[in-house]
């Protein structure tokens, strides 16, 4: 990520336009116009996350939704199955219950949306979670929730359907709330990216979540 940022910061905006239009699916003509117009208004704060968001390659809304569904299956299982085996107490137990129910709601909503779009939702994978105690569970929860925020924010600009974008926004806000609460519980900053949450590419998300998915 940081390597990419350095590279992106170093190129002129006209070059940036040519590079980033690759793989962009949402209203790409608008994007091209915006980038070509030199409107890379990043000025340090904005450019890094914008370039990362654009790096999310297309594949259509259904592909993005199925990817999100896999992540939500993962989070739901983590709280609702793994969460019952590590002896959670107090706030950790309360959060796991509430957040687990909400992740399950996300699973149902994404499944219904994919069907509505005439496609087939991915099957639920099996997962393996390397957590044996409350502290390792919460540490992993922090990774998963913060990765979830980055995943949705990264995919957002690639979504074609405004309805799907609105739904993804509604979900990512909840992931961000979970992430902040978990981070506070383990004495980490609730805003680890300061003012701007970093979007993640699919590859970056898979680097975090992939090892938890059993083939």
């Amino acid at each position: 990520m940081s390597q990419t940022d350095l590279q992106m910061d170093g190129v002129a905006s006209s070059q940036l336009g040519e590079i980033e239009v690759q793989g962009m699916t949402r209203s790409s003509f608008i994007l091209r116009g915006a980038l070509a117009a030199g409107s890379v208004y990043g000025l340090g704060a904005v450019t890094p996350f914008v370039s990362s968001a654009f790096a999310e390659s297309g594949g259509g809304d259904v592909e993005i939704l199925n990817f999100a569904l896999t992540l939500e299956y993962l989070e739901a299982d983590f709280y609702n199955v793994k969460g019952k085996t590590v002896g959670l107490k107090g706030l950790a137990k309360t959060y796991a219950k509430t957040f687990g129910e909400e992740e399950a709601d996300h699973v149902n909503a994404l499944t219904a949306t994919i069907k509505q779009l005439g496609s087939k939702p991915v099957a639920k994978p099996s997962f393996v979670f390397p957590a044996t105690s409350e502290s390792t569970f919460l540490a992993l929860a922090s990774v998963l929730e913060n990765t979830g925020v980055g995943a949705y924010n990264g995919a957002g600009p690639s979504l074609q359907s405004k309805e799907v974008l609105a739904a993804a926004g509604s979900i990512v806000q909840v992931e961000a709330r979970h992430a902040a609460a978990i981070n506070l519980l383990i004495k980490k900053s609730p805003t680890p990216n300061q003012g701007f949450d970093r979007p993640l590419t699919k590859a970056q998300v898979l680097a975090k979540a992939g090892p938890l998915i059993k083939k």
């Binding site: 006209s14 336009g17 040519e18 209203s27 003509f29 608008i30 994007l31 091209r32 116009g33 915006a34 980038l35 070509a36 117009a37 030199g38 409107s39 890379v40 208004y41 000025l43 704060a45 904005v46 996350f49 914008v50 968001a53 654009f54 509430t98 909400e102 992740e103 709601d105 996300h106 909503a109 925020v149 949705y152 924010n153 957002g156 600009p157 309805e163 609105a166 739904a167 926004g169 509604s170 979900i171 990512v172 806000q173 909840v174 992931e175 961000a176 709330r177 979970h178 902040a180 609460a181 900053s189 609730p190 805003t191 990216n193 300061q194 003012g195 701007f196 949450d197 970093r198 979007p199």
Partner: protein, 226 residues
């Protein structure tokens, strides 16, 4: 702090959004304008951007984005800018109130600094979209005690998060959308943090956060405009 604020208040002309908040008729006109501006030269923009050489498209897009094609996005970015200005002012007052200490004070200070970075980013976004950044509105916030302030902050952050969510799908420019999403989830983090401090719901809307439209949000912030 308070004398400085009142001086700024006296000298600052009313911003566009601020006036809109005061005046329901203006607000409706503004919303209508903001909604249609994006479509105004949309056809020309598409023609220019499609099927022409990269250089020609660049020129045409520059023209379009500095005229009215970006009008809807400019209105949205200025609306967000106005809210961020108010949040920044609010946190400045909270920090100077001295009601908080230790970890809570650090969190509040960092949230205020983050709102300030949102202000800077949105000002830049409006300019690059060819618009004029909204004037800083002068806020007035009841600052009575720690609990009341934290509850107000919780309300304000939840409102901010729902305001961004209400605009996301209306944004045309993918860069502005990426920026709005990056800010949106930070507002949500602030809201959740305040929720935990106050022992109020972290996810007050449950699994799916509810959006708020511009009109609703402007009406809700009206009491905080001086």
């Amino acid at each position: 702090m308070s004398s400085e604020t009142s001086e700024r208040r006296d000298s600052a002309p009313s911003g566009l959004v601020e006036r809109l908040v005061r005046d329901d008729v203006d607000r409706k006109r503004f919303l209508k304008m903001a909604g249609s501006a994006g479509a105004a030269s949309f056809g020309a923009f598409v023609l220019a951007a499609c099927g022409s050489s990269k250089k020609a498209a660049t020129t045409a897009a520059t023209t379009a984005s500095t005229s009215s094609a970006a009008g809807g996005d400019v209105a949205i970015a200025n609306y967000a800018l106005t809210l961020e200005y108010l949040e920044t002012e609010f946190y400045e007052k909270v920090v100077s109130s001295g009601f908080f200490s230790g970890a809570e004070a650090s969190l509040i200070k960092s949230f205020g600094e983050q709102e300030q970075t949102h202000v800077e980013a949105l000002k830049g976004a409006v300019s690059k979209l060819g618009g004029t950044p909204a004037e800083q509105p002068m806020g007035k916030f009841p600052i009575e005690n720690a609990k009341q302030v934290a509850e107000l902050a919780y309300t304000v952050e939840n409102l901010g998060a729902s305001a961004y969510l209400g605009q996301a799908a209306k944004i045309q420019n993918a860069e502005l959308l990426a920026a709005a999403l990056a800010i949106h989830s930070v507002e949500a983090r602030h809201a959740a943090t305040l929720g935990t401090v106050l022992k109020k719901p972290i996810t007050p809307d449950g699994a799916f956060a509810k959006p708020a439209d511009m009109s609703t949000v402007l009406a809700a912030v009206k009491p905080f405009l001086a």
